[in-house]
């Protein structure tokens, strides 16, 4: 995936109206574009094995939905590492630098003051705030960076129009293969999910 597609995909979550939509490859009888095909599973081991099957079949635009993070699922799905730690590290450096600039800048440059006889060049009293702001910026990046990479918040998603999907937060597991996957072929996907043990296999429309 090129850098450009990465950016446009991320932007599409936030500014869908700005992007020209290419005509969908698959539509339903009513002319609505197909979002993907979803299958339901009722136990953790089953969905875990099914995820391995889908990964081995070579799909790239697909997802597993589960009420809790399943251990080792990123391996079973073939998810590569996330950039989040790097982003958090950058935020930490920015936080420490901000604190350093704030403290030196104000008590050294803008209005040099001697308080309690402490020398200007003493860096020790500035350490606590440097630490605190470093932590603060990192925490912001961890949470808001995580949400941004996930394309959240968003108002709606085609999956939410699937009635059975209301139980995903309770005790059901879902695998969805999206129609934008280059290998997407409705009959093959349905067969694959059936073979993997999926129940209630359903074709989802993209409501937009």
């Amino acid at each position: 995936m090129s850098m450009f597609t990465t950016i446009t995909n991320a932007a599409a979550d936030y500014f869908p109206m700005l992007l020209h939509k290419s005509s969908p490859r698959f539509v339903t009888a009513s002319g609505k574009p197909v979002y993907g095909i979803v299958a339901e599973f009722d136990e953790t081991p089953k969905v875990f094995k099914a995820a391995q099957h889908v990964r081995d079949a070579g799909y790239t635009r697909w997802d597993v939905h589960s009420p809790f993070p399943i251990h080792d699922m990123e391996e079973a799905m073939g998810i590569k590492g996330t950039k989040l730690p790097l982003m958090a590290g950058a935020a930490a450096i920015a936080g420490v630098a901000t604190a350093a600039a704030l403290q030196w800048g104000t008590s050294f440059v803008l209005y040099p003051t001697v308080v309690q006889g402490k020398p200007f060049e003493a860096w020790q009293p500035f350490v606590p705030i440097m630490f605190e702001l470093g932590v603060l910026f990192t925490a912001f990046m961890c949470i808001f960076g995580m949400l941004a990479l996930n394309g959240l918040p968003r108002w709606h998603h085609p999956l939410f129009s699937h009635d059975r999907f209301m139980r995903v937060g309770n005790d059901r597991f879902f695998i969805v293969i999206e129609a934008t996957d280059p290998d997407f072929d409705p009959a093959k996907v349905k067969k694959l999910l059936e073979d993997a043990g999926g129940k209630h296999i359903t074709l989802l429309e993209d409501a937009d």
Binding site: R25, V27, T28, A29, E43, T44, P45, F48, A51, D63, V64, H65, P67, F68, P69, I70, H71, I79, T82, L84, P85, A92, S107, V115, K118, A122, P125, F126, P128, I129, F131, E132, L133, V135, L136, T138, A139, F140, C142, I143, M146, L147, N150, L152, R154, W155, H156, H157, R164, M166, R167, V168, G169, N170, D171, P186, H200, I201, T202, L203
Partner: protein, 525 residues
């Protein structure tokens, strides 16, 4: 192009009536004892973290049931009481702002008393939540999933209470903005070399990070509540809106939307469109781990910096290097005591609560009380030893004449209350049957909470009520405003906690499910 019909619409099924709690399990598991089956002493066996052989659906029903049930009368009664107390406290703050700090019992000698005692007390209580969610997460202590959500909530509410006092104790409250890193009208900036300003940064960072951590943990559970409300509306089993009444049944208001419609909107906005995607979970877990990693030094730094407020001064009794670790141990101690104080009654009041918060969880927390209580006891004795060994007569006098000796120290009763509650009471937990008995744990937790308030009172007031010149010596007596402000802060805390109990997921649902055997990816349950 390919034409495909969507499958016929499938109705929701199998989740039963979603507001009904599952049947309680038979208690106790071992007849004739209070053992619920979690007090296994054999290290080769792993005690279950969720009792009653619950399914994922049961756990969801238990936890979401608390937030979805009609408002219980007991909740309404308690809420009326606590919010009235909170209103009294707010009135006291208003009275203080209108009249001035003279309404408190402060004097020239004792210029920090209940205000800063209450601040340190509350901020200390606010340490257990982040400790449980951060340090116990890094240590892979799975039992923390039973308490982390409520402990984090408690942390936030305690920090809210703590934040009130530094703001109002400055006297001219409209100058509280001097705390912020902005220049005043003479272009002078706050003094960044002062521990008081470090404290502002530490506490506000801690409040922000704890709030974000708590909220991030709740996003998936709020999404669960959202989906359940949507499912009930979809199936037409949603209740009418009724105003709860103290006597009789609720008052129906036909023009109001159904509670589930309100829930679906509020939980829907708050859950940010979470759809339980594994690609999202992957980044979410990474973010959670990093937050735990940075919150661990943060939680240790906050109370260290609070202790710098005292330790960097030259007042005997404050000027000691032991303060940072001693304050941190005390904060963890007091925080866990408050967690136990609040959660043990809930095991009795809320249905099926004891399935998720088992006796073993209580025992583990009792062990932490024993450990930190003993650390605090060690710090008390070390402080005393150094005061004697350091041969500084003023410092020794603070301990011997201001605190310990009933014949010399007017505040001896405060010191000995502190020693009894903080050092002696937790020693009961050396005996297994005591630390496995919820009533005993609750009484000890109550004692520790009282003792930790007295610890801060002893540190602050007994150190400064007698300065170097006997002519300056003065006693501190609280006024009714002092007392009602503190009581009011307890009311604010309890009100917020009751709101949390009623409207938010009390257990971290997704995390509890992870520690259940059904979450394993192999077939051997």
């Amino acid at each position: 192009m390919s034409d495909m019909q969507p499958d016929e619409k499938i109705t929701m099924q199998g989740s039963g009536d979603v507001t009904v709690q599952p049947l309680p399990r038979s208690m106790p598991k071992v007849p004739g004892t209070s053992d619920d089956g979690t007090l296994i002493e054999d290290p080769s066996l792993r005690a279950p973290l969720v009792l009653g052989e619950r399914s994922f659906n049961d756990v969801t029903n238990i936890v979401c049931g608390y937030a979805e049930a009609p408002i219980p009368k007991i909740w309404l009664t308690l809420f009326t009481i606590t919010s009235s107390i909170a209103a009294v406290g707010t009135g006291m703050i208003l009275y203080l702002i209108i009249t001035g700090v003279g309404v408190w019992g402060l004097n020239n000698q004792v210029d920090w008393a209940w205000d800063i005692t209450n601040f340190v007390f509350w901020i200390g209580i606010g340490h257990a939540g982040t400790l449980i969610s951060a340090i116990l997460c890094l240590l892979k202590q799975n039992w923390r999933t039973a308490v982390n959500r409520s402990a984090e909530a408690m942390t936030i509410f305690a920090v809210v209470c703590a934040g009130i006092f530094p703001g109002i104790h400055v006297g001219r409250v409209w100058f509280a903005w001097f705390l912020a890193p902005v220049p005043n009208s003479n272009a002078i900036w706050p003094n960044f070399r002062s521990p008081l300003l470090w404290d502002v940064f530490a506490v506000s960072t801690y409040a922000t990070v704890s709030l974000l951590f708590w909220y991030m943990g709740m996003i998936p559970d709020l999404a669960t509540l959202r989906d359940r409300a949507a499912a009930r509306l979809h199936r037409g089993v949603s209740r009418e809106f009724k105003v709860p009444m103290p006597i009789g049944s609720g008052l129906p208001l036909a023009f109001m939307p159904r509670p589930d419609a309100i829930r679906m909107f509020i939980y829907g906005v708050a859950s940010l469109g979470w759809r339980f995607s594994s690609r999202h979970w992957h980044r979410y877990e990474k973010a959670y781990l990093m937050l735990a990693g940075i919150s661990t030094p943060l939680v240790l730094s906050v109370h260290s910096i609070v202790s710098f407020d005292f330790a960097t001064s030259v007042i005997p009794g404050w000027h000691t290097t032991i303060f940072p670790p001693y304050f941190v141990a005390g904060a963890v101690f007091g925080g866990f005591a408050m967690v136990l104080l609040l959660l043990i009654p809930l095991r009795v009041v809320l249905p099926n609560f004891s399935d998720l918060l088992t006796l073993r969880h209580l025992e583990n927390m009792a062990k932490i009380l024993l450990l930190t209580g003993t650390m605090v006891g060690f710090a008390y004795s070390m402080e005393f030893f150094i005061a004697w060994y350091g041969a500084n007569q003023y410092e020794f006098a603070v301990f011997a004449n201001n605190r310990v000796n009933p014949a010399e120290a007017p505040y001896w009763w405060a010191y000995w209350t502190m020693i009894t509650c903080n050092v002696l009471f937790p020693q009961l937990f050396w005996k297994r049957s005591f630390r496995q008995n919820p009533l005993v744990i609750w009484i000890v937790a109550l004692a520790v909470t009282i003792g930790m308030w007295f610890e801060r009172f002893v540190i602050i007031v007994t150190s400064i009520h007698r300065a170097f010149l006997p002519g300056e010596w003065q006693m501190f007596f609280p006024t009714w405003v002092d007392i009602l402000t503190f009581v009011g802060s307890c009311g604010i805390f309890m009100t917020l906690f009751l709101l949390f109990l009623k409207f938010l997921p009390v257990f971290a649902l997704a995390e509890v499910k992870v520690v259940m055997p059904q979450s394993h990816t192999d077939d051997h349950h």
